[in-house]
Point group: C2
Chain length 231, copies 2
DNA sequence: TTAATAGTGTCTCTCAGACATTATCAC
DNA sequence: GTGATAATGTCTGAGAGACACTATTAA
């Protein structure tokens, strides 16, 4: 075995955080990409990302939140580390490590961010990805696999909705995230038995355009809850 | 938003790979630690780990395999990335990122590695961890959580056994990994229905010391298989 | 009243756990 | 045969899906 090197700064890899930002559009899950401001690949659609800054960041998640706030004007989102990719060829600037985060954002927060001056988000159908710079395609694949898998045994899809939501809305998000239809009465039964939700007291809301208004709920715990069984 | 920095080498974090090496001892899962050769914390028990070396490594997993081969004389193990931790305080040399891998090793491979000159592995009961340097305790916690959770819906525990094993042996590993007793006939039923195993043809083995010998099996696929349902 | 969605009740089928039974070996 | 573990067969209860049915609103 070679003698240990000091691994001085000159041989350290570049370290970046890339955020796979997902929202729920009219027609299903949408990936939010922005045009890059700087080289390389300036002007092209890509993941929201940036350098880990040792002089600023308390940890990796703090770097992710700083980047989200700075480039996307988004704060307080559901954020989960997926994994890291590294190698010599993924970034022309040199051997690099990308730590991937999955972030979920309600559509209305996106609109508010754009109104507050964030560069426009392109909402992309994840099944119709355009060619992307770097290895962003595989980063996205990894994050969406995590989303789809974790959706079926946790409250993760709820973070694509606002604070309050109806059961039919919640069921629809689960269906989008998992990719299959769910049984209505079983869905209600399970969520109620598991005590995942609490009624928003006394207020049932009128639906936007028609028909019977539905009861509003919120998550009983504001953090992710994992189930012992499937949705 | 601040102007983008070039993130020249001088502001890059240190990048290391740390490997949570797990085996199955007589009395259950055991964490394998080695004494550190170099400062900081030379001589103390710690995870097998090392620097990512941009000049050598094709990707992060290659770094992990290089470190395992170099410091532990182990090759071809089951290896899975868990997640990354980073921050200014976890390593006295500076702001650092540790990419954590879970590695599973059959006990006999460990013994062979030690015989081949690897520094001795201390087999530690994960429920009785001694104080550890850096933030290795939380890295271990993260990797063991992954092991315990994934054990119940995949062939992961099988990688703690050698190439061939009996069903009672396999059941015992699952029980150790998951931490609960399993139902015998249900265990057999599920593994058989899922076509996870194949019989080692015509050879049933004699047990070491006594009683009825059991049929030997091997994994039908040498890679990890995830189940649609729980073990 | 009608139309459409929200929400409930009930039946059935599947599957996992419990446990009894049979099989196969060493001695 | 005896004793011990390996392997199989069967029963039962819990829970998920299917679907019919009731509830509540706007128009």
């Amino acid at each position: 075995m070679a003698a240990p090197s000091s691994a001085g700064p000159e041989q350290r890899p570049i370290a970046t955080v890339d955020i796979v930002l997902v929202t729920l559009g009219e027609e299903g899950l949408r990936l939010c990409l922005q045009r890059r401001e700087h080289e390389p690949h300036a002007g092209e659609l890509a993941l929201v990302g940036g350098y880990v800054r040792p002089e600023q960041d308390a940890d990796i998640e703090a770097a992710a939140r700083r980047i989200l706030a700075g480039k996307a004007r988004l704060e307080g989102l559901y954020l989960e580390q997926v994994r890291s990719f590294g190698g010599p060829g993924r970034d022309p600037r040199g051997w690099s490590i990308a730590i991937i985060y999955l972030a979920l954002v309600p559509e209305e927060r996106l609109i508010a961010a754009e109104a507050a001056g964030a560069p426009r988000f392109e909402r992309i159908d994840p099944d119709r990805l355009p060619p992307l710079p770097f290895d962003h395609a595989r980063l996205i694949t990894a994050a969406l696999a995590r989303l789809r898998s974790k959706a079926s045994y946790s409250t993760l899809p709820a973070f694509l909705l606002g604070d309050q939501f109806t059961l039919p809305e919640l069921k629809a998000v689960y269906e989008q995230a998992i990719g299959t239809k769910l049984n209505d009465s079983a869905f209600r039964r399970k969520l109620m038995e598991m005590q995942i939700l609490e009624e928003v007291d006394a207020k049932a809301s009128a639906t936007a355009e028609r028909k019977r208004p539905a009861q509003l709920y919120r998550l009983a715990r504001r953090t992710l809850t994992e189930f012992d069984r499937t949705v």
